[in-house]
């Protein structure tokens, strides 16, 4: 077992983990943050995407011990209160989720994108989201939701 310390959703955490434990399993089973979902555990579906030091990362492909000293944000940490963030509200408005399983990965990926590139266009949104598989929606409403949320991230508009 190894002791690691890192920050999750703005709070410092300290956990003893098996060196082989993935960050996703650590978040889910050690820290109880079950909003991070595991759809494939081989880095293709993107459901487990979390934000590590500002970048969207697949937590199934990262070991928990590699997160030592990092700042990790999960879907639970996107809003601090009961209200949806503008991005989450936009997902709801556009019906950008059905079963909800891929949703945490979609929202974290889109949040990381819009934080860095609030003026991204549809092609860019589709390109970045192509790393996350959604089986229900056909992506059309997800792309609409992300484009519609750009203003909340300081987009100057097209």
């Amino acid at each position: 077992m190894m002791k690691i310390e890192f920050e999750v959703n703005g709070k410092p955490v300290s956990v003893d983990v098996d060196p082989r434990l993935s960050l996703a399993d650590c978040l889910r089973s050690e820290l109880g943050l079950t909003g991070t979902h595991l759809g494939c555990e081989h880095g293709v579906c993107g459901a487990c995407t979390v934000i590590v030091n500002g970048a969207a990362v697949r937590s199934c492909l990262m070991l928990a011990v590699q997160a030592s000293g990092d700042s990790v944000v999960t879907v639970e940490g996107l809003s601090n209160d009961e209200a949806l963030t503008p991005l989450q509200a936009s997902f709801r408005k556009h019906h950008a989720l059905q079963c909800g399983f891929c949703t945490p990965g979609m929202v974290t990926t889109a949040h990381a994108l819009l934080t860095h590139e609030p003026d991204c266009d549809e092609d860019r949104v589709r390109d970045v989201l192509s790393g996350n598989i959604c089986r229900c929606t056909g992506y059309v409403p997800i792309v609409e939701a992300v484009l519609d949320a750009r203003a909340a991230y300081g987009s100057k508009g097209e």
């Binding site: 555990e41 809003s79 399983f101």
Partner: protein, 765 residues
């Protein structure tokens, strides 16, 4: 005394209540659950496609610290339980039922052999590596030709790999063919692919030693049926089992059917006396959850000179894999029964032979049998039109079932005889509307044109979508003493927004505020009986049951109010917060001392048929075989929409799944029966950059006469005609080469080969 304006939630694009928890990571999927003192299960699965099981040596695995047990077939009692069929349970199919654990033979790669129970899933996976399995291999049967060559048979007692034949008949096919001006005969193939929902399957099961009661978390789709199967296999009363439905990450026909793990995890909990948790990984999902489609078909169409379709005749071969699963006959049966689709074809003799092979067993996937059969039929119409030198659009218009022909009977199927009829619709109107909204006339100049190195093609075709399977559904409505309403329902949620939709229906029926209603569904303790969510039935069946229960509950409330307010029950109005009569009112809260309850059952024998037309514009790169979809439009009449937002989402999502099945998704086996597509890097699914332009229009033109809502089962329609429409568009793009796709998927290598072969054929002419 004013009464609130009437509710109109039905038909409104209400934002979903489910979203609030899903968007914040607060959904509860089964792998999010943990029970005190739980252990973890991992399955040992067959590495061989076909063979005789000689032994499983667990000595080394059991010695690994943290391993509690390895459960083998011999631990399951004198006779290993088998999984019965849920649909079309023909007695002659009993030899093909899957055992919960293989005990004499293995018949596919991934077949469960044993269950390892350990402190963690990781330790259990380590233990798998320490188990020695001895299997004497037999020749693997992997397709129709090897099934018929029969170097080995899967079920020796049956003696053949051909398990059974479905026959669909209407009119006199042979006479129609004798009188036809044109008889077209072709062969088609649709590849094996699958529902591939995103949340892997899983269960948490807890056997209570003291009370001998079992609780299972992770139920989906058909909880009551599965409780019956599970209780029978475990030899305990049904009432000792509680199945609990939590949030479900997609179903599409595949999740929630009874798989071996549905029994193995609860049985393991009873054997070790502790709660057991199991979650499959994606590789297991790819080789264990139901596969689908996988058919070949030789079909003939009889056509008159003017383009009227006189008859259909033919034989399809459905490769169903190693066992008959719970609903394994639905797709193959539908291929025979629904080949005629929305067209008036009076003479039909179509059969489907179900073949057993050493591949994963199959079941339904959204639009079962219909996706396959629409590919074949729409291709045949275009091929016939080309032969006759007539326009495919005109030929479709000529053959669509007319409004005046409704209800229109389809072919009858045997065995497990059933007949059905198209219930209502204006197929011609929707067809013409689709052409108009697609801009067919403007775009038709592009047909076959080479622009910037790509050939452009257009196509259009129509479809029907069956829904609302009976026999019945239950709903129980309870007016709580605080004046709120609780709706208990036998339907299940599989990610389609059931909670929101049922709240809308209940709110309108009871004239209650949306926020005062709570919907509980899918768990076996809520209503006497439930039938679940399949065959696009939840909204129609569950929704209609709510209407019936609401009538009963309103009568009870009126009577209660009448005695309280001293008036006749008929004078009482209910407005969601209060009961009102001339000159007096009383809040619903506290109207009765105890909750008022009404339960009702909606019975239905008749299916609903939503219908529609889709059109596509594609372009083909002759150098790479890549097909780009420039525009895709679906127009569908669903009779009555409950929530346009969720319905639109179902339509778009269905179309993109259909495009996945048309271009990308393929479960490939080698000649040894090994699955070659065991990850999502090998099994390709649509992503956000693949199909950007998908449009859908939903109409409420012809309500179903068969239920009080007037709604038709919808949500599968989008996927149904996609293969046929795209293949026709590709053929039209490449008409100068006479390229005719007869097989899916239309992957770039396949399209490229079709182009190359056509070019070579042209050169040698």
């Amino acid at each position: 005394m004013s009464v609130r304006p009437a509710n109109s939630f039905i038909g409104s694009p209400i934002e979903r209540v489910e979203d609030l928890r899903f968007l914040r990571g607060r959904g509860t999927y089964v792998s999010d659950l943990n029970r005190p003192n739980q252990l973890h299960a991992v399955l040992l699965r067959s590495p061989e496609a076909h063979g005789r099981l000689r032994g499983i040596d667990c000595t080394r695995a059991l010695a690994l610290p943290g391993v509690h047990a390895v459960i083998k077939a011999s631990d399951l009692g004198a006779r290993v339980p088998h999984i019965p069929l849920r649909l079309q349970p023909l007695p002659q199919l009993e030899p093909f039922h899957q055992p919960m654990l293989a005990f004499d033979k293995v018949r596919y790669v991934g077949e469960p052999l044993a269950v390892v129970i350990a402190d963690s899933a990781g330790i259990a996976e380590d233990a798998l590596e320490l188990i020695d399995v001895s299997i004497d291999p037999l020749p693997a049967i992997t397709d129709k030709s090897s099934a018929d060559a029969a170097a080995a048979v899967l079920f020796e007692s049956h003696g053949s790999n051909r398990a059974m034949v479905w026959t669909a008949t209407r009119g006199d096919a042979d006479a129609a063919f004798a009188s036809a001006d044109l008889v077209l005969k072709e062969s088609f193939r649709v590849q094996r692919h699958a529902a591939m929902f995103m949340e892997p399957r899983g269960f948490v099961a807890e056997w209570d030693v003291e009370s001998e009661r079992l609780t299972v978390w992770g139920a989906a789709k058909v909880a009551w049926t599965n409780r019956r199967i599970l209780a029978t296999a475990m030899e305990i009363p049904e009432t000792s089992v509680e199945m609990i439905e939590v949030d479900v990450g997609g179903g599409f026909g595949s999740r929630g059917e009874f798989y071996p793990e549905d029994y193995l995890i609860p049985a393991a909990s009873r054997i070790v006396g502790r709660p057991i948790k199991w979650t499959e990984d994606r590789r297991e999902h790819l080789m264990c959850a139901n596969h689908a489609r996988d058919i070949e078909c030789d079909v003939e169409m009889a056509v008159a000179k003017d383009g009227r379709i006189l008859g259909l005749r033919g034989m399809a071969y459905a490769d169903i894999g190693a066992y008959f699963r719970t609903n394994g006959s639905v797709g193959p049966r539908n291929v025979a029964q629904f080949m005629s689709g929305p067209y008036k074809i009076e003479n039909i003799h179509l059969q489907t032979t179900q073949l057993t092979t050493n591949k994963t067993p199959s079941g339904t996937y959204r639009g079962p049998g219909r996706f396959e059969t629409d590919f074949i039929r729409e291709r045949m119409i275009d091929l016939a039109a080309k032969k006759l030198g007539i326009d495919g659009v005109a030929m479709r218009r000529l053959n669509l079932v007319a409004d005046a022909d409704m209800p229109y009977p389809l072919a009858s199927i045997t065995p497990y005889d059933s007949s059905t009829e198209l219930d209502s619709g204006d197929y011609h109107h929707v067809f013409d509307l689709c052409l108009e909204k697609f801009g067919w006339n403007e775009k038709s100049a592009l047909q076959g044109k080479l622009i910037d190195g790509r050939y452009h093609g257009l196509s259009v075709g129509s479809f029907i979508e069956g829904g609302a399977a009976g026999p019945k559904e239950d709903a129980r409505l309870v007016l709580e003493t605080d004046g709120s309403l609780t709706v208990y329902l036998g339907s299940s949620a599989v990610g389609q927004g059931l909670q929101t939709i049922m709240t809308q229906i209940a709110a309108d029926a009871m004239e209650f505020p949306f926020e005062r209603i709570r919907v509980l569904h899918g768990s076996t303790s809520h209503v006497t009986e439930g039938f679940g969510s399949y065959h696009s039935r939840s909204t129609v069946m569950g929704g209609s049951a709510i209407l019936l229960a609401a009538d009963k509950l309103k009568a009870m409330i009126r009577e209660s109010a009448a005695s309280k307010l001293g008036c006749a029950a008929s004078e009482v109005q209910i407005d969601g917060e209060t009961v009102v009569t001339k000159g007096a009112s009383h809040p619903l809260a506290g109207l009765a001392d105890k909750p008022l309850e009404a339960e009702a059952t909606f019975f239905n024998k008749k299916y609903t048929y939503a219908y529609g037309t889709q059109a596509a514009h594609v372009s083909v790169d002759p150098g790479t075989g890549h097909v780009q979809v420039h525009d895709y439009l679906s127009v569908e009449d669903v009779g009555r929409m409950i929530n346009p937002l969720t319905l639109h989402g179902q339509a778009i999502g269905g179309i993109v799944q259909g495009l996945g099945g048309t271009f990308l998704e393929h479960l490939i086996y080698d000649e040894h029966g090994q699955l070659l597509t065991g990850s999502l890097a090998d099994y390709l699914m649509p992503t956000a950059s693949d199909f950007p332009v998908i449009r859908s229009i939903t109409l409420e033109l012809k309500p179903s006469p068969n239920n009080p809502l007037g709604a038709k089962g919808a949500g599968e329609g989008g996927i149904i005609p996609v293969g046929g429409i795209i293949a026709n568009a590709v053929a039209n793009a490449l008409s100068h080469l006479d390229v005719q796709p007869m097989e899916l998927p239309l992957s770039p290598p396949r399209v490229w080969r079709l182009i190359r072969d056509a070019q070579e054929a042209k050169r040698s002419m």
